[in-house]
């Protein structure tokens, strides 16, 4: 697979404020993401994960180093619209991203700006709304929708541009469990069915556990980068960085510490159930 995102030697500092020194937020990031990957970026507040995300579609430009997305250098101002069509971004707060008073007009907003012909626009808007399961709401006012529904409208607005990559910056942070489930299911479907590359920034470990790959940021550098199973098996390291591991992983780790023969790399409920059953089966065998 082709690399869709290539980040090399990326450093970034926000400009110095009067009286304050410029703080370096990103300290040398090297990261490549292949087309079609589903990557979670974890990190505590201030770790630089949002700053990193904003480099992918040129909201921020590197102080040093290079970011290339879909073959376009983000510093190339002449190709910035092309770049943003290739990599779309969804933000945390659903209320800050909706511009129109009718759902379908909101989804069409970017296409109108790009001068897409009407017939084509109609088709793309309908397809995008169907893809996020919001087609029945196309004539509604966004103000009547739940947070999860609004976030799906924001995602539809991006999908309508037919991007190769979507970056989502904590898209579920302001949603309730139902809304979170809807949005996660939508993102997963975009990835599986349309092959869109997903970069998901999140605080939720259960969401990260559903991804192909987890990148953990700490103090402006990449601390861990592997499959969720491998990353979460470093329980102590992950906790040291100020993050959680899934509860089932934590339980397995605690039991291992107490001397139980239980795998280190449990990340799903099913695996945990099976491992505990096995422990008890062994226990019975011994006591007999």
């Amino acid at each position: 697979m082709e690399n869709i995102i290539e980040i090399s030697g990326l450093h970034f500092s926000y400009p110095a404020d009067d009286g304050k020194e410029a703080a370096e937020v990103l300290k040398g990031i090297d990261l490549t993401i292949k087309e079609g990957e589903f990557v979670a970026v974890l990190g505590h507040n201030g770790s630089g994960k949002s700053t990193l995300a904003k480099h992918i579609n040129a909201i921020l430009l590197p102080t040093e180093g290079k970011v290339v997305v879909g073959g376009i250098d983000t510093a190339d101002e002449a190709r910035i619209f092309e770049l943003r069509q290739c990599a779309g971004m969804v933000f945390q707060n659903p209320d800050n991203q909706i511009v129109s008073s009718v759902v379908e007009e909101d989804v069409a907003f970017a296409l109108e700006n790009l001068g897409v012909p009407y017939e084509e626009m109609r088709r793309r808007v309908d397809d995008a709304l169907k893809a996020v399961n919001m087609y029945d709401y196309r004539q509604h006012s966004p103000s009547q929708l739940s947070g999860g529904q609004k976030q799906r409208i924001a995602i539809a607005g991006i999908i309508a541009m037919q991007p190769r990559c979507i970056i989502l910056d904590e898209p579920t942070a302001m949603l309730d469990p139902q809304g979170r489930k809807e949005v996660m299911a939508t993102i997963r479907r975009m990835n599986r069915e349309q092959g869109i590359t997903i970069v998901l920034i999140t605080h939720y470990m259960d969401e990260a556990a559903q991804c192909d790959r987890v990148v953990v940021m700490d103090k402006g550098t990449i601390a861990l980068d592997d499959t969720p199973r491998e990353v979460f098996s470093h329980v102590e390291r992950v906790m040291e960085i100020g993050l959680d591991v899934p509860q089932v992983t934590e339980l397995a780790w605690e039991l291992r510490k107490a001397g139980c023969d239980i795998p280190q790399d449990i990340i799903t409920e099913q695996e945990c159930v099976e491992a505990i059953q096995k422990l008890f089966a062994q226990n019975k065998a011994i006591s007999r």
Binding site: H44, N45, M174, Q247, A258
Partner: protein, 290 residues
């Protein structure tokens, strides 16, 4: 005696319009003094409407709200006092900060209560300490602080009124795990010291499991249950069915029970799960080793 009580509390929005909707439907509830209560319910369940009745932001369509045994609407002029006694911290309270310094922002509530300067200062210093804000921050502009610090300033502003009942609507929304743990730990310490009544609205049952003595669950405008934490987790499957998130660890134990491994206890935290499993693996002696 119950500090907060509702009797057949009902609230209907937009009566007589096509949007008429009963958001709270005949709710009877008694919250005892000193309890730490987790409040759950999905969006639209009526939990926000319910808590807005506790300090008189909304007036019941029918039914009553009693604070210390007194109907809070018995004398309309006294509703202001109710708001000093029941402090409500909204979601994302950091957006409501407006003063020039952290000190002034925390002092805003106490000053409105008509307290003297000495008492105001005592309360500001004490609550800042309670919520983990260093004294040197008090002179700073709240807008220079980090998101988590700003949120703690906003919470301190309500705590400084020393309400008998403190209600926090999703105090950890949008925070990272470390920020979340910090705020919850400060609220817990404050509760242990002051022994006042605290209600925390949260979507995360994993968080609630860590602090609540009791859990209140709203569903479709009705009170689904109000009971001890352990008993509520005993109804994990029903709670899942009404669209709420049950802790992952609870789901594991529900599944184990279905498969025939029944420990006879409700499990909702990891340390408890570990101890329980080790005890059973090792017979009654349980030396904490496998």
């Amino acid at each position: 005696m119950a500090i907060l009580e509702t009797q057949q509390l009902t609230y209907t929005y937009s009566i007589g319009s096509p949007f008429e909707k009963t958001a709270v439907d005949h709710v009877d509830l008694k919250i005892e003094e000193g309890e730490m209560v987790g409040v759950m319910g999905h969006t639209g369940s009526g939990k926000s409407t319910l808590i807005q009745h506790f300090n008189g932001l909304l007036r019941p369509t029918s039914g009553k709200v009693l604070l210390d045994g007194q109907d809070i609407w018995a004398d309309k002029k006294k509703i202001r006092d109710v708001r000093f006694q029941v402090g409500l911290v909204f979601q994302y309270p950091e957006y409501q900060i407006f003063e020039e310094t952290v000190f002034k922002d925390i002092a805003f509530g106490p000053r409105n209560m008509g307290l003297d300067e000495k008492e105001i200062k005592r309360r500001v210093l004490e609550t800042a300490h309670d919520i983990g804000l260093k004294e040197e921050l008090l002179k700073r502009s709240p807008f220079e602080l980090s998101g988590g610090q700003k949120r703690r300033v906003a919470i301190a502003g309500v705590m400084a009124m020393e309400p008998k009942v403190l209600i926090l609507d999703e105090p950890t929304a949008g925070l990272d795990p470390a920020g979340r743990d910090k705020i919850l730990a400060h609220i817990k310490a404050y509760h242990e010291r002051r022994k006042n009544t605290i209600l925390i609205v949260s979507h995360s049952m994993e968080d609630i499991a860590g602090f609540a003595d009791k859990i209140l669950v709203m569903n479709k405008a009705k009170l689904f249950c109000y009971d001890d934490t352990e008993k509520v987790f005993g109804r994990a499957e029903e709670i899942s069915e009404i669209g709420l998130d049950v802790p992952q660890i609870t789901k594991v134990f529900v599944e184990l029970k279905k498969q025939g491994l029944d420990f006879g206890k409700e499990v909702y935290t990891v340390p408890y799960a570990r101890d329980l499993l080790l005890k059973h693996l090792h017979g009654k002696a349980g030396d904490g080793q496998c």
